[in-house]
């Protein structure tokens, strides 16, 4: 189906099903229960899951396939966001022109930066991308303030021209981004017993975009182009002596992944029309590296999982304060309660960076293939137990 083989079709359908049902899957705990803290099924976080999923999918096309580690990819996300917000300001609150311009602009920046940076490989390439991104961040934060809004970020204002929406009365409030009359923030709620599920238009819009992006990524992975990119990672020298020019291949991969980043940036701006320079800082670029590694480099679904895991930690784990901990352990005797809280507290809430660092180290040390490899290992364990057969066949099909 869709020009994919059976396995990939299954994967695509699985991801489609997961995203479609996310409002249910992410809200497994009834309202008001102690575990409701762990529910993630609210629009903003679900939007972030899919948007950063797109970002990581795109990054993986570059890093996972070619092995070129860009440490400045967040710059393209930033460019996409700025472009999108400017479209909202100047043209229309409809998200489509914003997305188109964002993808084009980030593609142009990626072409320029990629053309220069790809003259070098290895860590030299990483440092070049880092240098470009840091320059963009520093300038966006300071001297480019008239274009980027600087510290406070680029925002909408009541008196923006919005040429295409000219006739619409704003009524003292800035209009919000939408798609032909549907606003990104529109939500429907479904109450089932103690559970409440929120279906948000913005989320589903972003999810559809992510599915398209994911589908394209599968096609790229399975295409001759994707094979060449993997060959670059495997042995660039051999590829050169096989008559293939690696530069345009890597550049194409760089531009494509830059456009994915720009798309993610545009969607971020569509869900929340503000573009800040911090999203271009090098730690933001590091974050997408973390996502990809955590999920599984070079795998199709890994980056999406990694993006989800990190955003979950950032938004859910970081909100657990000592108060909530005390509530959880309230059933224990006082001394034990305090002890447990003392032991756990450094790792959650404001200590979530520590947990992130530890998990990340553990993954790199023990699971170089990320969560996907972890899943495969678990699956293999079950398989070999069930069938009691000899060791499972080594995975030979790459790009799972």
């Amino acid at each position: 189906m869709f020009g994919l083989d059976k396995k990939d079709t299954m994967l695509l359908l699985l991801v489609a099903a997961l995203t479609a049902l996310a409002p249910f899957l992410l809200n497994p705990f009834p309202e008001g229960s102690a575990l409701a803290q762990f529910n993630a099924g609210y629009p903003d976080l679900m939007q972030r899951f899919v948007i950063f999923g797109i970002f990581a999918i795109g990054f993986n096309i570059l890093f996972g396939l070619t092995g070129y580690l860009s440490f400045g990819h967040a710059a393209f996300l930033g460019v996409g966001s700025y472009a999108a917000v400017w479209m909202f300001k100047l043209l229309s609150m409809n998200v489509l022109p914003a997305i188109v311009l964002a993808v084009v602009m980030s593609g142009l920046f990626a072409l320029l930066i990629g053309y220069v940076s790809l003259r070098r490989s290895g860590i030299y390439f990483s440092i070049l991308t880092l240098a470009f991104a840091q320059m963009m961040f520093a300038l966006a934060y300071s001297v480019l303030t008239p274009i980027t809004g600087g510290e406070t970020g680029l925002q909408l204002a009541l008196d923006d021209p919005r040429i295409l929406d000219g006739g619409v009365e704003t009524g003292g409030n800035i209009p919000v981004p939408g798609l032909f009359g549907m606003e990104m923030r529109d939500s429907v709620q479904l109450e089932l017993g103690a559970w409440v599920f929120t279906f948000n238009f913005g989320y589903y819009f972003a999810a559809v975009v992510m599915l398209i992006a994911f589908y394209i990524a599968i096609r790229i992975f399975r295409s001759p182009f994707g094979m060449m990119l993997r060959a670059i990672k495997a042995n660039q020298q051999r590829l050169n002596y096989t008559g293939l020019n690696t530069r345009p291949y890597t550049l194409a991969a760089f531009v494509i992944s830059g456009m994915y980043a720009g798309l993610a940036g545009a969607l971020m701006a569509s869900m929340d029309p503000l573009a800040g320079a911090e999203r271009m800082f090098w730690t933001a670029s590091g974050e997408v590296v973390l996502m990809t590694i955590l999920g599984g480099v070079g795998t199709l679904i890994g980056p999406i999982l990694g993006a989800g895991a990190i955003k979950y930690m950032e938004n859910i784990i970081s909100k657990i304060n000592s108060d909530i901990l005390h509530n959880w352990f309230a059933f224990l005797p006082d001394g034990l309660e305090d002890l447990l809280v003392t032991l756990v507290y450094p790792f959650i809430g404001k200590g979530w960076h520590l947990t992130l660092g530890i998990i990340f180290m553990l993954v790199v040390i023990f699971l170089p293939g990320g969560l996907v490899e972890g899943g495969q290992r678990v699956a293999r364990l079950f398989k070999s137990k069930k069938t009691d057969s000899s060791a499972a066949k080594p995975q030979t099909e790459p790009g799972e």
Partner: protein, 343 residues
């Protein structure tokens, strides 16, 4: 003219800090072939060695001074350091005053230990892994280390002043025949510069003139051959890692009076020190030193207001701009060897 001399002076001083940090980083890369993103964290831990020692020295017991009151109107509790009890008030105060230089003695064993533990406990399993994995695992480690420090010391910067003897600044202008006060430089920064020069010299001498250093240099050039000679290069490399950690740590200790240390100072320096190492040429010790001074001087010039007026924002990007230009014109950095880190 005097403005230019001043910025060269200032650049050399800045550069000595960059060179010192980059030196350890490139030492680790050159010997072990490991890209250590936790190097900034080592610098930061060094700085917190100084904080810790001054905390230890100022460990106090409480004496209630009933003549004064605190913010809630209660009798004021005055903290009296135990050092005062041991050495008497005058000597005790002097010991506390000299906490930062004293920390050098404290930091050396601590940093050696941290370095060796890091190498034995983590890094050695990554020699054969790709550079990307090394970057990632040490990046994770850097996050963990700085969060631990933050947990114990908080997020705010902690003032750790230099000894009172080094406050104030030295007037070069007067010596060179310029007007007084035109070329002044703080004493402590001059101390830092001299300190960096000594450390850099010591590391070079160590590598150049000791058998240990010769083996290590041979190992940097060709690890397998040295291994074949039956020399236990691994153990020496462990010691090198400890040494590099100590260099980073000392750089951190002496830096504390310049900028009050905080938990993220390592990350602040990380990107910069990598730029320095790459500009100098991965694995090249003289390259790292040269690039450190070069970038320090250029950064100083870029921060002159005449330059900023000419090219707005240049002070924000000069380091990166230099890195890009050097990497494009000299692919292996200023003094780098061929083929290093290009896979």
């Amino acid at each position: 003219m005097d403005a230019i001399i001043l910025q060269i002076l200032n650049g050399l001083d800045k550069g000595s800090a960059y060179a010192l940090i980059a030196l350890g980083l490139t030492l680790i890369f050159g010997t072990l072939g490991v890209v250590n993103f936790a190097h900034g964290a080592l610098f930061m831990i060094g700085a917190f060695c100084a904080v810790t020692l001054s905390r230890i020295l100022t460990l106090s017991h409480v004496v209630v001074d009933s003549t004064k009151t605190d913010f809630l109107g209660r009798p004021l509790e005055v903290q009296v350091p135990y050092v005062y009890d041991i050495f008497g008030e005058a000597t005790g105060a002097a010991v506390i005053d000299w906490a930062v230089p004293l920390s050098i003695l404290f930091a050396i064993p601590v940093m050696l230990l941290v370095g060796v533990a890091m190498e034995r406990g983590l890094i050695k399993y990554f020699y054969k892994r790709p550079h990307a994995d090394q970057i990632l695992v040490t990046f994770g480690l850097a996050i963990v280390l700085q969060e631990i420090i933050k947990y114990f010391y908080g997020a705010n910067p902690i003032p750790t002043p230099a000894p009172a003897a080094f406050t104030g600044s030295f007037d070069f202008g007067a010596i060179l025949g310029f007007d007084p006060n035109t070329i002044i430089y703080p004493y402590w920064r001059l101390v830092y510069f001299a300190f960096a020069a000594v450390i850099i010299g010591a590391v070079f001498a160590f590598l150049q003139f000791t058998t240990f250093g010769m083996v290590v240099r041979a190992g940097m050039a060709d690890r397998e051959t040295v291994g074949l000679l039956g020399i236990n290069i691994d153990r020496r490399f462990t010691i090198m890692f400890g040494l590099a950690a100590a260099v980073a740590g000392l750089a951190g200790v002496m830096y504390t009076p310049i900028n009050s240390p905080n938990y993220h100072m390592g990350m602040d320096f990380l990107v910069l020190s990598f730029v320095v190492v790459v500009v100098g040429g991965m694995g090249s010790l003289p390259g790292a030193v040269l690039a450190g001074f070069l970038l320090g001087v250029l950064e100083s010039f870029a921060s002159m207001r005449e330059v900023i007026d000419l090219i707005p924002g240049i002070n924000q990007v000069v380091i990166y701009l230099v890195a890009i230009v050097i990497l494009l014109t000299r692919p292996r950095g200023l003094l780098g060897r061929k083929g290093v880190m290009e896979d």
